[in-house]
Symmetry: C2
Subunit: 567 residues, 2 copies
């Protein structure tokens, strides 16, 4: 495995391309040049890899791999799928883009102010260019990092991104790989970091040809989303390499600043070295070589510090993780419903615990999980936890996809925003919340396989059993479900949206300028919760400064006596 | 969970018994007293447990649990199943046995000389009393620890023990729980330690009523032997407690000196604290309380030191593990066939590596496993590795169950014994090898379920695909398969068996008396392998002593020049 460049897939090298594909069960493999229908036989190497060096392919050309003379398949490591997931792959020379971000320095993770967005519904254009057009807006808002939901090629043009089947390919309708390079470059010019959401725990159902190539899946484990990726079973080395190189590519070739790895609790790996730790080691090596900083952030539902502890402490070395529990506690405190996983949360006391301990469950019995859950995270710094009052999942996994704007009063939304932005953790907004966007963020897909589309409809309904929601779920396959989930940028200067936006800007500015808010030292945090009045007082200190946040979650005026606490 | 006594199952307490059963899905649970058909309703407690204190049951009485008034089931934590796996459970007062082993002090693990035996085929009597009758013989042989294959109640009277379905019950035909207490006491009086093989990775197929009681299994993982035990999914706490208390019981109530935990690589547990680590913590607590020493030895096929590293190093804290690879390397060096998993082994060089590194595969590519395998075990002391030239699996998993006596020349058998007994690891013999027992050790079962018996026959055949063996496998269900696997004690004083026995005694005596052999410091080991001559020179040092073992694996005389190595 090399740090400097991709070793798998088709990569432009001097005077042509080098093609490498892993197909250990194939008897022979060729590369088909689609323009001209030329099949070039590949040479078998060790461990199931097939190689070819040719000058007959160049940047932009379409190709397929031909297994045993009869299966014409796109490249598992394809960078571009201009004709969608079933179509041929496209050669992309990742080196042609003219980067102008030499001056860019990825800020310290502690200073990240995250903004999660979905490339399809963030802008009217539904693509990277649409995001670029809003960078000035985002800069003015004050955030310094956008987090883009997965962009790996998925079927059709409408998908959250978690059904991607080409982890190396950038969704063509968004602008493809060169479009992403362009966006990252533009972000860096505006001093905005780019976090990319990547999915290493499963592969989508449509256009998934991985099984034809090799042992990408294992039957050792079962996941909620079908086949488990093979990270520790026979033949796992090539699969591990595939994902390690993927992480390296985003950092090296796309200048991505951080990866947000989806649901790593669903990555089953009992190897002596967990795949996340091995990814971390390689990213460390890359950073050493380039001098650039890159962060690894995980979505993890285990409250297990093993993921975020350093490699030297037998941890997996992840820089940070999402903490859904802060959200759950905040939402219940704000008066949200308590069905499904919210049943584990009681409100104010849990929120107070989240401020102090990051994990609400750090060893207690969880009624929802039916077991004791979590470990204490006392020694992990605040920057290791990403908090939010909503995100794509918390909104989109509701049957009607209501944002907080539709569930909470205007004042409560403001309080929730403050609760997040004054937390001693990394705050994250979900696109549009800063102006209380009223449109829902619904679950949508555009599978071309009718049977699959129907299965998704059904699965969606089944998912809502836990929420005991009533009525019919919007059809995920209907284009209107997607269109109706887009942000309405024309609301920005209208009442009451402009007011909310101003409020967010002020809060963000405070977060960036008040030392006691910027500094995430968890030792300098104290919380008093008054369950009777539904008030919470958050104290934060930095050097001589003592900052007090008064939060009133009740629906009436409360008197809070400020104690003379010093720290 | 208590350290002092069992908290689950039926336990004799003052003036009666206390019964506790976990049945979280039941609407009501009663305890049926079989003599008189009296049903005593149990009281529902937290987390799915049901309790009952009654004076209507006493030591020896038969009972069942009645779930929802219609399922009459034996106790999952039954101590005794006098009428086999489908029959009622029996109350056993574990405190009535009159122990006389106060003077017993479990020796240091480093000094263990293990002797694996199967209670059914070791003696003509097929029970614990039959073992006790041979203790003088074993003492004279020189071993100081017997390792008894699993004794948890299984269907019928013929089973290796890995189909047990009552992990707390001692096989009735062997003598039941009181018989085991008697045997352990007798062993201790003869200064022989007792290692008990326990199975925490699966439950047998017949008489398995666990699913009726609770969430003992999870669908998260798949195992080669059916349902995976639920160590980390919803409801796992009770299952974890079940196995932790099981380990504690053997040590506390049966005075067992060490557990050998079967195939722990098939225990799937992604909890923050692995079940083995939690067992270790509890055993540590027990030892602190009693002042007695107990060891945890695992069969593990992962070459991953995480299992044997200390809890303080984020390991699971196991005291020792089996290393099959020493066996594989030795066997191939001795000229054994190279089918199946033996394909990974080349002979002499691997054996040399095993002496030095314990694991042969500690990071290299394994052709059989199709992946890079293992991690170095340089910092783990010799006592953490149990080695052997044969064991129940290596013999019994052959289609014809041939012991080494049927596969290797008499002289080669001697050499293999020396290779094991001079290794800087813990040596283990398999019953009868010390006199070159010619009988096979075949796979046998006595399932009462005809369909299951047939499935076992079929499964057995499928298993031999990897060995490419020819001919028909003996019928595992046929009683003759069991009878023909028994040791022939009348061979002991016959030629050539008496000669082998004398040889083993001499070797064992050397092992016990020569400091350079007794001392397992791995830094004081050096090996020279000469592949051309098929000779291996093993050097061991202790203080001023330098011991040289010359091994000639060729079939002719070889000249070995002794180097003047000092260390």
């Amino acid at each position: 495995m090399e740090i400097e460049k991709r070793t798998i897939g088709v990569n432009v090298s001097k005077g042509g391309v080098k093609a490498v594909v892993w197909a250990p069960n194939a008897k022979n493999v060729s590369l088909r040049i689609c323009n001209g229908r030329i099949d070039l036989p590949m040479e078998q190497k060790d461990l199931g890899y097939w190689h070819l060096q040719t000058d007959q392919l160049k940047d932009g050309d379409l190709y397929r791999f031909v297994l045993d003379g009869e299966k014409f398949l796109p490249d598992p490591a394809s960078l571009s799928q201009p004709e969608d997931v079933h179509g041929p792959s496209q050669v992309v020379d990742l080196k042609t883009f003219q980067w102008t971000d030499e001056g860019w320095d990825n800020p310290a993770l502690e200073s990240y102010l995250l903004y999660e967005l979905h490339a399809g519904t963030f802008s009217p254009e539904s693509n990277f260019a649409g995001i670029e057009a809003k960078l000035d807006y985002l800069k003015e808002l004050g955030i310094n990092a956008i987090e883009i939901m997965p962009v790996a090629q998925f079927p059709g043009g409408r998908n959250w991104g978690y059904d991607g089947v080409f982890p190396y390919a950038v969704q063509h309708s968004y602008g493809g790989p060169k479009g992403l390079q362009q966006l990252v470059n533009a972000c860096h010019k505006k001093s905005i970091a780019v976090v990319l959401d990547v999915v290493y725990n499963h592969l989508g159902p449509e256009g998934n040809y991985f099984g034809e190539f090799g042992h990408y899946f294992t039957k050792k484990y079962n996941t909620p989303w079908g086949n488990a990726i093979n990270f520790d079973d026979a033949w796992c080395d090539a699969v591990r390499q595939y994902y390690i190189e993927n992480a390296l590519m985003w950092f090296r070739d796309f200048h991505i600043d951080a990866l947000r790895m989806d649901a790593v609790h669903a990555i089953n790996d009992f190897s002596p070295k967990h795949i996340l730790a091995e990814i971390k080691e390689h990213v460390d090596a890359l950073m050493k070589q380039t001098g650039k900083k890159h962060y690894l952030i995980v979505e993890c539902d285990l409250n297990d510090t093993r993921y975020i502890n350093g490699l030297d402490k037998q941890g997996y070395g992840m820089d940070s993780q999402w903490v859904d529990e802060f959200h759950h506690a905040l939402r219940v405190t704000a008066g949200g419903d308590r069905t499904g996983y919210y049943e584990d949360f009681n409100g104010l006391k849990d929120l107070a615990k989240a401020y102090c301990d990051a994990y609400v469950y750090d060893g207690q019995y969880s009624a929802h999980r039916h077991k004791n859950f979590g470990v204490p995270a006392k020694n992990n710094p605040g920057k290791q936890f990403v908090v939010f009052s909503q995100n794509h999942d918390q909104v989109g996994n509701r049957m009607l996809g209501e944002r907080n704007s539709q569930l909470f009063s205007f004042e409560m939304q403001k309080l929730m925003a403050a609760a997040v932005l004054t937390a001693p953790f990394l705050p994250m907004l979900f696109m549009g919340e800063e102006w209380a966007e009223p449109n829902p963020f619904l679950y949508f897909v555009s599978h071309t396989d009718a049977e699959l589309a129907e299965a998704v409809r059904k699965g969606r309904k089944a998912e809502f059993a836990a929420f005991h929601a009533q009525g019919e779920a919007p059809d995920p396959v209907d284009e209107q479900t997607f269109e109706g989930s887009k942000l309405q940028w024309d609301l920005l200067d209208k009442y009451p949206h402009a007011m909310m936006l101003a409020y967010y800007k002020t809060l963000i500015n405070l977060r960036k300028t008040v030392p006691a808010l910027k500094n995430l030292n968890r030792q300098h945090v104290q919380v008093e919760a008054n369950e009777e009045n539904k008030t919470l007082v958050l104290h934060r200190w930095y050097q001589g400064e003592h900052l007090v946040v008064l939060m009133n979650f009740s629906d009436q005026q409360q008197v809070i006596a400020l104690p003379s606490t010093e720290k």
